[in-house]
C-alpha cells in the first residue's frame, strides 16, 4: 500500500506544474486579450512577388 505515498507525490508534482503554467500564462498577458491571437494565427507570410492575385479573396 506504500506505493500510494509515491503516487500522491507524483500527482502533486504534476498538479503544481500545471498551476505554475497557469500563473505564468496570466503573468505573460495571455488572458488580457482573448480575441486578437485567434485572428493573428490565420495571417500568412507576405509573399514577395508583386500583387496580382486579387481574385483569391477570402472572407
Amino acid at each position: 500500500m506504500n506505493i500510494i505515498f509515491l503516487l500522491i507525490g507524483c500527482s502533486f508534482c504534476l498538479a503544481i506544474a500545471f498551476l505554475l503554467a497557469f500563473i505564468w500564462s496570466v503573468k505573460s498577458g495571455q488572458l488580457d486579450d482573448d480575441y486578437t491571437p485567434s485572428v493573428r494565427i490565420l495571417f500568412d507570410e507576405i509573399p514577395n512577388k508583386t500583387n496580382e492575385d486579387d481574385s483569391s479573396k477570402t472572407d
Binding site: 500522491i8 502533486f12 486579450d33 495571417f43 507576405i46 486579387d54
Partner: protein, 803 residues
Amino acid sequence: MNKVVDKVITEKCFHCGDTILTPIRFDQHQFCCVGCKNVYELLSQNNMCAYYSLENNPGQTIAQPILDSSFTYLDDEKVSNQLIQYKDEHTAKVIFFIPAMHCSSCIWLLEHLYKINPHIQQAKVFFLKKELHISYNPQQTNLREVVTLLSRLGYEPAIHLNDLEERVKKNDQRKLSYQIGVAGFCFGNIMLISFPEYFGLDTFSKGQFSKLFGYINLVLSLPVFFYSAQDYFKAAYQAIRERFISIDLPLALGIIIMFVRSVYEVVTGTGIGWFDTHASLVFLLLVGKWFQQKTFDTLSFDRDYKSYFPVAVTKINEHQDLTIPVTSLQIGDRIRIRNNELIPADSILLRGEAHIDFSFVTGESAPVKKVHGEIVYAGGRQFGSAIELEVVKKVSQSYLTQLWNNEVFAKEQSSVMQSFQQVVSKYFTIGLLLLAIGSGLYWLRTDVVHAINAFTAVLIIACPCALALSSPFALGTAMRILGRNKFYLKSTAVVEHLAHIDTLFFDKTGTLSQPTHSKMVYHGEQLSYGEQQLIASLVQQSIHPLSQKINNILSVNETLEVIGFKEVTGQGITARVMDKQVYIGALGWVSGGIEQANENKTTKVYVRIDENVKGYFELEHVYRKGLDSVLNQLNKTYTCSLLSGDNDSEREALLPYFSKHSLMYFNQQPADKLECIRGTISKGKQVAMIGDGLNDAGALKAATVGISITENTAHFSPASDVIMDADVFQLLPSFFKFSKATLKVIHISFVISLLYNLVGLAYAVQGTLSPLLAAILMPLSSATIITFTTAATTFAAKRNQLK
C-alpha cells in the same frame, strides 16, 4: 433624382467600400476619393495588398488630407514624454487608442507596419481594447512619423488631452485570476484527497492514510485561506469599521470558522474537517466575482471634457504657424481653427466667419454665427473657412470646463441606494448570529463540546454562499445580455438601479432629435426646375451650413454661372444668375431692408428672385426613429420630462410625445440641468437622465442612472453609468422592463438559497452536521443558484425581445 444616380453607379470604392460618386481609377481599381487612392498606392508600393484580400473594402475614408504639419506638436518633448510609456536608447514604446480599428485586415496591416517604416520594431494589436502597442527605434524615427504614418493609412490614433496626464494602471483582473487559479487548484486536489474518507475506504489501513490526508488537506487549504480569500476578510473588516453590515461579514465568519475548526479537528485527530467545503466555497465565490467584473474594455465610462478636447492647436506666430499642445496655450495667444476643428479655450473672434456648432456643448441645434470681437466659448466646432481667435481664458478655466468644478464630480458617488443583497444580508447576518449563539447556549447546559459543535456548524452551513452568488450571476448575465444589445453598463450594480427608476429626463438635441440628420423644408410658392437651378447655383457658392443643407434637398443636375457673388455674415447671399438677381437669407436681407437679424426662434431662410419673394426654407426637426412608441410606452410607467439646452421653438412639435404630467424645460444651462436633477432626487425620486452632450455631463453624473446615447461608441461620450448605442433607442422600454425582471430573478433565487440554508440549519442546530453532508449541500445549492439565475435571466431577456 437622387435615386436615379444611385442606380447608375453601384460601384463601391475598392478601399473603403463607400458608394463612388466620381470614380478615380488607379491600378485597375476604382476609388471614391484621392485619400483612399493614396492609401492603396502606399500599400501597393510596399507590397502589402494582402490587406485587401483578408476582408472586402476594409479601409477608412480619409476625410481631410494629412498635412506634414498636423502632428508637429508631437515633437514637443513634454508631449511626447507623456505619451511614450518606456524609452531607452534603442527602443521607445507607446500605446495608441485607434477607434477606426474594426476587422482582421486592420489587425494585419497594423501589425505589419514595419514593412512600411522599417524602424518600427514591433506592433501588437489588442483588438478588444482597440489598442496598438508600438515599439520603435527613437534614433531612426520619431513619434510624429509613426503617428503620421498611421493617419495616412486611415488609422489616426485618438490622442486627447487626458492622455497627457498620469494614467492609473489597473491590475485587479490579474490578481483575481491568480486567486481563482490557486483556489481552483487547491479545491480540486482537496476533493480528490477527501473521497476515500467519504466512502469509508480507509478501514483496512487502520486510519494510517486518514491522518496523512488530513494534513495534506490542511497544507492545501493554507493558500486558499491566506491568499485567495483575503479580499473577503478585508471587506468584512472594512464593513465592521464603518459599522455597516454587508454580506461579506457572514461570509468571512463562515470561512474563518470553517478553517479554524478543520485545523483543530485534524490536529487533535477528532475528524477530517471541512477543508473541501471551505475550498469550494472560496473558489465559487471568486468565480462569481469574476463573472460580475465583466467590463467593456473599449468603452470609457468616466470621461470628462479632457477626453473631448484635442491635444494640439495651431498657434499663429509672427513668422509661421506652429502646432502646440493645448495645455501650453496662454492667455493672449492667437490661434487658428480650421473647418471641423474644436475651439479649445474661450476666445475672442479676430478674423474670419464663424459658424459654430454648439449642439454638443449647449444643446442648441442650429449653428451659431459669431461676428468679430464676440466671445466664442470653448467646445464649439467650427464649420466653414478657417478663423482666427485670441485666447482669453486658459483651457481649464473656460466657461464649459467650470461645470466640472461642481461637487458632484469631486466625490465618487458611493452607491446611491442599497442593493437588495445589502438589505437582505443585514437581517440575514443578525438572524444567523442569534441562531448560532442560541443553539450554542441550548447545548451548553448539557455538553460544552456539543455546544461548540452546534455553534460552529450553524455558522458553517449558513455561510451564505448561494446567497452571495445569486446577485453576481443574475446581474452579470443581465449585463452581458444588455451589452449584446448595445446597452453597455458601467457595472452590474446599475442593473438594480435601473429597476428602481421612476422618473426619466430626456435631453433634446442629439438625444430625441438628430440635428445632423435634419433637413430643410420649403414653404411657399412652388419652385420650377429653373428656379431650383438658380437657387442651387447660388447656395453652392457659400460654405454656410444652411446653404449646404438647402443644396442637399434641391435635385439639380447642372449649375449655372454665378456673377457678382456677395455674402454678408448673418444676413444672406446674393448674386446674378441667368440675368436674374437672386437673394437668399434672413427676412431683412431679402426684403431689402438692412434691419438686424431678428431673434427668430426657428431658422428660416427666405428666397427672392428679382423682385419676387418666393417663400422660405425651414429647418425640419428630425426626431429619432421610434420616438413615438418609446415615449408612449415609457409614459405609462414613468414620469418623462424634457430638459433641453435649446430654445423652446420645438415645444409644440414635442408636446404630443409627452404626457400631460410631463415637465418641459428649455434654455437650460449645464448647471441648471444638474440642479434640476438634484432637486428631483432630493424629493425622493429615482431619476434616470438620458443625454448625449457635454452639457448633460453634470446631469448624467447627478442622476441615479445616467444614460449617454451615442451614434458611435468609439467616439466621445460624457461620464455616465450607461453608454447606449443610438441604434437601439427603440429598445429603451425593454431595457427598463428587463432590469425589473432581473431583480425579480434575484428575489426568487434568494428564497431558494434560504431554503437550502434551512435544511442545513435543521441539522446544524442539533450539532449533527457531518462534513459529508456539508460537502454535498454547499456545492449543490451553489450549482442550483447559478443555473437558475442564468437561465431565468436569459428567459426574461427573450420575453422582452432582447437578443
